[in-house]
Symmetry: none
Subunit: 204 residues, 4 copies
DNA sequence: AATTAATCGAGACGGTACGTCTGGTCTTAGA
DNA sequence: TCTAAGACCAGACGTACCGTCTCGATTAATT
């Protein structure tokens, strides 16, 4: 997901080491441009100019524009929130979804997430990277749900994949289409509705 | 959403009338390019060349690349399926979602839908157009759900907006992120899960 | 040189007659655009829009943009000054050259003359028309010079063509290249210099 | 007049240096297109395609189409003929004018000169550049004439500017208007006529 | 201290596409 | 049959980015 060089990279040494200043300038310029100029105002050319960095330097470290944006995201959402585990599925999901929806509302983080999804449609190389990101998130949610099943809070026949889609789906839908806001209330409603269902005879 | 001229347009005539040949050639070229070259291979330049049409003609009738793609979609999904109304919410929703998911699977129609969502992120003008498209679809679904409530099939306290998001959300999520396919089974699972809920003691 | 229809055109009648309003509007628009926007601002499109006339109407009556400009010129210099014939070559030439140079200075007429020369370089059809215009002017000047030879004012071995070029050449040169103005003084200097020569032992 | 970089340019380097290959390819393509397709067939688009060069590269180095054509001219007339100085004004002028007229006859060089004059009428930016070109040429001729005055070959009251116009004027006139060819004979006639005058009692 | 090698900024390169403008043709309704 | 309006195909305009490619200069670690 990131352009970081592994600490134990095989061929180290010799030559000028990577400049952290340049790295940070690029990431910050990316975030700044996404914020002020939006996704259409995001081009490598402009990032390079804004960061005061050569284009070559960007291409050297980030294979795709998506990779760049993805790293900007991890910088923004730096504290990778741990799995909550409050003992109640509903509470766990409330916390996670609220946290997620707030990220979507965050002006920078939201723009970055949108950009990644858009970039994934266009760039097959990034699409692959992006799928690992998506899979990561799904895995965390699946674990929480599985715990709910194990504890008997959720039906044993619950289809995990479908349930995960029922939670992330509305998030991405509202993130990309502004027909309604990503409010805290909505986050909880999505969870509650999934747990209770909307059919009257759902629990006979 | 479409470039059609309203039947009782106030400004009638004067000047050469719009050429239907050119119109159709443009739409067909758009579909052809989307099919053969994919969305990245879709440029006004290429559409014009393929259709044997001046670029001016395209810009005259479609303000955005998105608007063009949107009309191509309505052409592909030409039979605007009427509201099913089988007497059962569940059946109605099954039919609608299956139909929708199949459109997403359709190689051209799926690409067009994806393109529209992407274009809406980039072009604010199209974003507005796209919202009317989104709103239309939501309205249809809302009507079906409301009927369910009226018939007592759905809880009277059902939040319509949340329910609609719970149905369209997973669709767009899987359409844009290929972590799992838009199968018929998935379409039904989404509906059933929404109706029944996944919590065991959901109705205390 | 003009797009006028001969008054006794053979096949008259039938159909809507030519609109003089349209004709005049086109010519006036041409002059107006040349004045306010200069030669680069002169396009059939803009003339049609300014005149409130269909492009077709222009193309119907004037085969080339040059023909249009040429007719605008004859409208501006409507009083085709007659050959002066004062009895003295020098006086005749002074009068003619001063008149010509003033036309070049006239903001509209100068622009039109420049436009014609430019158009003649680009449009072979107009180049032919333009040559008859050039030939006309040369003929008038030749006649005056020939009279001078006949009267013994000019050398019998004077090469008429060369002399005509020596008079018109500097005019066009300064008309097209603004290195110095087309002043009355210059008009007379050109004539006097041609008559006297600049070599000291020219008349031994 | 040229795109050359001054030898002792103050801003030395930084960034990839200008490609001479690209430069030459552009100039050669310009000449080729002028030759084969004429001035109307000369577009930046086509030059770029013919030269195998990006349009940006052309716009980077030549502000105007005229500037490009101007440099093509200096390449064609590469040996900037030195001031002849034979000891006789007449002989000097004969040499210079013959040389100039032959350039006008040269199929490419003539087209280029014509193109420059046309471009100067249309593009004010190039008009300025072109005036320095014109001024350069005038200066050379002035020097020759001044030498003639100093040596007593020409009248002390000779108006240099008028004399220069009397030499260049007929050249440009015949270059732009094909009423008569730019022959060697004509070149000499223009000079001789200027020196001797055509009036019999011109020196009373 | 000198050498070596990878970095940095700057920016030119060949390209593709953008959205606008014009040229010249064509097609209507109305005079 | 002409006119005004304006759509049509074609293609050039000048700009913005793309991803690649040189440069000279900088900065360690290795000689």
């Amino acid at each position: 997901m990131s352009g970081e060089i592994a600490p134990e990279s095989p061929k180290r040494t010799q030559g000028r080491p990577r400049s952290d200043e340049a790295h940070d300038a690029v990431i910050n310029a990316t975030i700044a441009l996404l914020t002020h100029a939006g996704y259409p105002g995001l081009s490598i050319e402009r990032i390079a100019a804004t960061a005061g960095v050569g284009k070559r330097t960007i291409y050297r470290w980030w294979p795709t524009k998506g990779a760049l944006v993805a790293e900007a995201y991890t910088q923004l959402i730096s504290d990778r929130h741990p799995d909550p585990d409050t003992g109640s599925v509903q509470r766990d999901l409330h916390v996670m979804m609220r946290r997620l929806f707030r990220a979507g509302l965050h002006p920078q983080a939201g723009a970055v997430l949108r950009s990644m999804m858009v970039e994934a449609q266009r760039d097959p190389r990034f699409a692959t990277e992006f799928q690992t990101f998506i899979a990561d998130r799904r895995r965390v949610l699946s674990k929480v749900l599985q715990r709910g099943i194990d504890r008997g809070e959720l039906g044993a026949d619950t289809k995990l994949d479908v349930a995960v889609d029922a939670l992330f789906g509305p998030f991405w839908y509202r993130l990309l289409s502004p027909h309604a806001p990503l409010s805290d209330t909505f986050a909880q409603d999505v969870v509650d509705q999934l747990l209770s269902g909307i059919g009257v005879s759902s629990t006979p």
